[in-house]
C-alpha cells in the first residue's frame, strides 16, 4: 500500500462560519486506515462541528476533504454514507419496536422489503454480531435490550455497512467499565480489519488506552496531532485549555452578604446525586463541568421543573418545598434556561408580552391586565438593557440571540428574585452582547442578588465567578474559591483526571 492510500481521511483548511460565529478555523485533520484516532477538546472546541462536516451534515465554508485519497464533496449525510463514512452518535438512534436485525439493516435493505427474506437478514446480522463478539440475539426486540447493548447494536449497524471510516461520539458515556473493555476489543478488531476509527471522548484515560493518535481541538482550531505514545493526560488537558486567561470578563466588585440559596444533598434519583452548595448575596457561583454532567438537571430541579427525591433547598434561611416554577418564583428563585428557543421565549409574542409573562397576575386587577402596565414594564427593561431594536412591540423571535437573551433575563428580574440561576447565559451570542450580559449580571450582584451561573466556557467561569462548583457524572465537587481556580484544576475535576 502506498502512503497516499494509507490516508483514510485528509481534511485540509476546513473552516465553518455560522452567522456571527466562527466554529472551525482552518482545521487540518488526517486519519490513517487501521488506526484509532482520538479527538479531544473542551465543550464548544469544534469537535461536533468537525464531525458534522465529515458526515455531510454541514458544508464547510472553505477547505478540502479527501477520502481514501480522492477529493470528495458531500452535501448530505447520504453522500458520506456512500463514501463509507459511518457515525455512531452518543444518543441511541434506533427503533425500539423493531428487532435487532431489522435495526442493523434499517435503511439499507437490498431491493424491496416485500422480497427480502427475513431469515437471510437475521443470519447476516447474527454473523456481524458474532464477529463483534456482542452476544446479542438478532431476533430480540431492540427495546428489550439494555442501553449498553443498544449502543453495541448501533456499532454493529455501522460495522455491517462495511465502512472505511467510523466515527464514535462519546461511545462509553453509558457503558460500565466491563462493557467499555468489551467495546475496546471490538474497536481493536475493526482497526485490525483496516477501518479508520475516529474516537471522540472526554475520558482521557480511555483515549490513552485505545487511541493510536490524538488530535486536540480548541476554540475551533486544530492545536496538535500527536501519537499517543509519550503524551500524558495532564499534557492533553494543558493543550485543551491552554489559552491565556485574559481579563475580558471583569466581575464588578460586590459586597458578599449572607447565604441566600442553599441546597443540601439534593438528588433526583437518576441524573444527579448528593449535590450541595450555597450562594450568598452579591456572589456569583459558577457551576461547570462537561456537557451531561448534570448541571442543567440540578438547576431545573431547584426551579421546580423536575422533582427532587432527596435533599433540601432553602432560600434566605427558610426551607422551601418547590414543586412548580410558580412556587419557585414565590420563594424568590428565578431560572434563565439553557435552551433559549425551546424554554426561554414564546416566539410568536412581543418583547412586552414575553417580559411580563411571569408577573402577569401582579399586573392585573380583577383578572384584567392593567392598561399599559406591561408596556411600562417592558419599556423600562428595553431601555435599561438597551435591547435592540428598542421597541417592546417587536416580535421576540425577530431579535438577535443576544437581545433575546437580555429580554429573557429581564423577564426574570421583573419578578424580583433573590436568587437567579443562569444556564449558559452567553451561549450562541456574539462577543458584544456577551459583554453586555456580563455587565448586567455584574449589576445584579452589586444590587445584592445571589447568582448561580452555569457555563461550559472556562474563561467565562474563571473571569466572572467568585466560587466554582465542578460537576462530574451527576456529582458536585467542593466549591473552589478564586485562589484555587485554574483551567487545569477545573478540567481535571470535570474529567476525573488529576492534572500534574
Amino acid at each position: 500500500m502506498t502512503a497516499v492510500a494509507d490516508c483514510a481521511l485528509d481534511m485540509r483548511g476546513i473552516s465553518k462560519i455560522f452567522p456571527g460565529v466562527k466554529a472551525l478555523s482552518n482545521v487540518n485533520f488526517a486519519v490513517k486506515f487501521g488506526t484509532v484516532h482520538a479527538v479531544v477538546g473542551e465543550n464548544g472546541a469544534g469537535k461536533s462541528t468537525l464531525m458534522k462536516v465529515l458526515n455531510g451534515s454541514y458544508a464547510p465554508t472553505s477547505g478540502t476533504i479527501k477520502v481514501g485519497g480522492t477529493d470528495v464533496r458531500m452535501r448530505r449525510p447520504a453522500d458520506a454514507q456512500a463514501l463509507g463514512i459511518r457515525m455512531v452518535h452518543q444518543e441511541i438512534n434506533l427503533v425500539p419496536d423493531l428487532t435487532v436485525a431489522e435495526n442493523v439493516y434499517l435503511g439499507r435493505m437490498p431491493g424491496k422489503w416485500t422480497f427480502l427474506r427475513k431469515g437471510e437478514m437475521v443470519r447476516k446480522a447474527a454473523a456481524v454480531l458474532d464477529e463483534l463478539g456482542a452476544g446479542i440475539n438478532p431476533r430480540e426486540r431492540l427495546g428489550n435490550l439494555s442501553i449498553s447493548q443498544q449502543q453495541l447494536v448501533e456499532i454493529a449497524k455501522a460495522y455491517a455497512a462495511q465502512p472505511r471510516i467510523i466515527v464514535l461520539d462519546e461511545p462509553t458515556s453509558s457503558l460500565s467499565e466491563h462493557e467499555t473493555a468489551a467495546l475496546f476489543r471490538i474497536l481493536r478488531k475493526m482497526r485490525d480489519d483496516g477501518i479508520a476509527i475516529i474516537y471522540i471522548s472526554h475520558r482521557l484515560k480511555e483515549v490513552l488506552e485505545i487511541a493510536d493518535e490524538v488530535t486536540v481541538l480548541r476554540d475551533g482550531s486544530m492545536i496538535e496531532t500527536r501519537p499517543i505514545e509519550g503524551i500524558t493526560a495532564a499534557q492533553m488537558i494543558r493543550l485543551m485549555v491552554g489559552r491565556e486567561v485574559s481579563n475580558v470578563f471583569p466581575k464588578s466588585p460586590a459586597e458578599i452578604g449572607k447565604s441566600v440559596l442553599r441546597v443540601e444533598r439534593i438528588s433526583d434519583g437518576t441524573r444527579f446525586h448528593n449535590v450541595s452548595f450555597d450562594v450568598r448575596a452579591g456572589e456569583i457561583l459558577g457551576l461547570t463541568g462537561l456537557v451531561g454532567a448534570g448541571r442543567t438537571e440540578v438547576a431545573r430541579a431547584i426551579f421546580g421543573l423536575s422533582r427532587l427525591v432527596e435533599g433540601t433547598v432553602s432560600v434566605n434561611g427558610r426551607q422551601v418545598s418547590i414543586k412548580s416554577p410558580s412556587e419557585a418564583v414565590k420563594a424568590g428563585i428565578a431560572y434563565v434556561p439553557e435552551d433559549r428557543k425551546g424554554d426561554g421565549i414564546v416566539p410568536g409574542m412581543s418583547i412586552r408580552e414575553n417580559i411580563s409573562l411571569p408577573i402577569l397576575r401582579r399586573l392585573s386587577r380583577f383578572g384584567r391586565i392593567r392598561r399599559g402596565a406591561d408596556r411600562v414594564l417592558a419599556a423600562d427593561y428595553v431601555k435599561q438593557f438597551s435591547i435592540s431594536p428598542p421597541d417592546g412591540e417587536r416580535r421576540i423571535s425577530l431579535l438577535s440571540g443576544g437581545n433575546q437573551q437580555k429580554a429573557v433575563i429581564a423577564k426574570w428580574l421583573a419578578a424580583r428574585p433573590s436568587a437567579l440561576i443562569l444556564d449558559e447565559p452567553t451561549r450562541g451570542v456574539d462577543v458584544g452582547a456577551k459583554a453586555e450580559i456580563h455587565n448586567i449580571i455584574g449589576q445584579l450582584v452589586a444590587g445584592g442578588m445571589a447568582v448561580v451561573m452555569i457555563s461550559s466556557e472556562l474563561p467565562e467561569i474563571l473571569g466572572v465567578c467568585d466560587r466554582v462548583v465542578v460537576m462530574r457524572d451527576g456529582r458536585a465537587s467542593e466549591p473552589l474559591t478564586r485562589g484555587e481556580l485554574s483551567e487545569e484544576r477545573i478540567m481535571a475535576l470535570a474529567t476525573g483526571e488529576e492534572a500534574a
Binding site: F303, L305, S324, P325, S326, A328, V329, Y335, P337, D339, G342, D343, G344, I345, V346, P347, G348, M349, E353, S356, L357, P358, L360, R361, L363, S364, G367, R368, I369, P389, D391, E393, R394, R395, S397, L398, K411, A415
Partner: protein, 330 residues
C-alpha cells in the same frame, strides 16, 4: 397609534413589515370574502338579502357561535380540538328540559351547564394533567358522557314543560332574538378574557411555547385544562338554549356541532397548532362559513358539493396557517 406608525417608518424592517402585511391581508381577506358572499348571494337569490333570512342565519349561527367562543380557547392553548361537544350540548339540552318539572327552568338550566362543565373538567384533567392526546381524551369522555345522558333519559326524546322559558328563549329584545344577544354577550366576555386578561395571555403563551410558558411560572396544566372547561361551559349553554328553543331534546341533538365549531375557528385563521388567534377572528370565520352555506342552500347547490366546498375551506385555512408559521419561524 400615530407613534406606532412612526416607529415603523423610522425602523423599516423587512420581516416586521412583511408580517404586518400578512396580518392585515389575512384579516381583510376574510372581510372581503364575507362581502363577496353577501354580494353573490344577493345576486343569485332574491330570498338571501331579506331580514327574515338574515335573522334566521343569525339565530342558527348564534347557537354554534357560543361553542365557537369556547373552541377558540382550545385551539389557541394548543389543545387541538374538543370532540366532546356533542355530549356537552346534549347534556345541556336534555337536562335543562328534563329537570324543569323538578326544580324549575332557571335552576335546571344552571345545573345543566354546570354538569356540562364537569365533563369539561374531566377532559381538562386528562389532557392538561395526565397528558393524554386531546382528540382521544375528548372523544372518550364525550362518548361516556353521551352514554350516561342517554341512559339517564332512557334513550327517549325529552320535551319541555315550561312554556314561559320557551317563550323567553324564542323571544326578542329590542327586536333582536334573545339567543343572538346571549351569543354576543358570551363572545364579548370570551374576547375580553382572551385578549385582556392574564388568563388569556397565559392561554396564548401556553399554546405558543409550552415549555417556555412552563418555565415562566405559567400554570400550564391548569391553563390547558381551563380551555376545555370553558368549551364545555359554552357548549352547555348552547345546548340549553337549543333545548329551550326546540322544546325537545334527543341525545344526538348536538351531533355535528363540534365540526361546525372547529371549521369556523380554523377558517377564521386561528392556528390549529396553538399560540395565535382571537375570538373576533373565529367569529368572522363563523359568519363566512354560515353565510356561504346559506347561499349554497338558497342557490340549490347539492349537499355533497356543499361538503366539498367546506372541506376545501378547512384544508386551505390550515395550509395557510402552516405556510405562515414556516415563514414566521424562518
Amino acid at each position: 397609534m400615530s407613534d406606532a406608525a412612526m416607529e415603523i417608518s423610522v425602523n423599516p424592517d423587512r420581516f416586521t413589515r412583511g408580517s404586518k402585511l400578512v396580518d392585515a391581508l389575512s384579516k381583510a381577506g376574510l372581510a372581503f370574502a364575507i362581502l363577496a358572499v353577501v354580494l353573490y348571494g344577493s345576486v343569485v337569490s332574491p330570498a338571501f338579502f331579506t331580514s327574515g333570512n338574515l335573522l334566521n342565519v343569525l339565530t342558527s349561527m348564534s347557537i354554534v357561535g357560543i361553542v365557537v367562543v369556547g373552541m377558540t380557547f382550545v385551539l389557541v392553548v394548543g389543545g387541538l380540538a374538543d370532540l366532546s361537544v356533542p355530549a356537552t350540548i346534549a347534556c345541556g339540552a336534555i337536562l335543562s328540559l328534563g329537570l324543569q318539572p323538578m326544580i324549575g327552568p332557571l335552576p335546571a338550566f344552571v345545573l345543566a351547564v354546570g354538569l356540562a362543565g364537569l365533563i369539561g373538567l374531566l377532559n381538562g384533567v386528562l389532557v392538561g394533567y395526565v397528558g393524554i392526546n386531546p382528540i382521544i381524551a375528548t372523544l372518550g369522555i364525550g362518548t361516556i358522557g353521551l352514554g350516561i345522558v342517554q341512559a339517564a333519559v332512557g334513550g327517549v326524546i325529552v320535551y319541555g314543560s315550561n312554556p314561559a322559558s320557551a317563550e323567553f328563549a324564542k323571544g326578542r329584545l329590542f327586536g333582536i332574538p334573545v339567543v343572538v344577544l346571549i351569543f354576543l354577550v358570551i363572545a364579548l366576555i370570551g374576547h375580553f378574557v382572551l385578549s385582556r386578561s392574564f388568563w388569556g395571555r397565559w392561554t396564548l403563551a401556553t399554546g405558543g411555547n409550552y415549555s417556555a410558558a412552563e418555565a415562566s411560572a405559567v400554570p400550564v396544566q391548569a391553563v390547558k385544562a381551563g380551555a376545555f372547561v370553558i368549551t364545555a361551559l359554552t357548549a352547555g349553554i348552547s345546548g340549553g338554549l337549543l333545548g329551550l328553543t326546540l322544546q325537545s331534546a334527543r341525545p344526538l341533538i348536538g351531533a355535528g356541532y363540534e365540526f361546525s365549531a372547529i371549521t369556523a375557528v380554523v377558517v377564521g385563521g386561528v392556528s390549529i397548532i396553538g399560540g395565535f388567534g382571537s375570538v373576533p377572528r373565529a367569529i368572522a370565520g363563523l359568519i363566512f362559513v354560515q353565510l356561504l352555506t346559506n347561499v349554497m342552500v338558497l342557490d340549490g347547490v347539492r349537499t355533497p358539493i356543499q361538503g366539498f366546498v367546506l372541506g376545501i375551506l378547512i384544508v386551505g385555512a390550515v395550509g395557510m396557517d402552516a405556510a405562515l408559521r414556516k415563514r414566521g419561524v424562518a
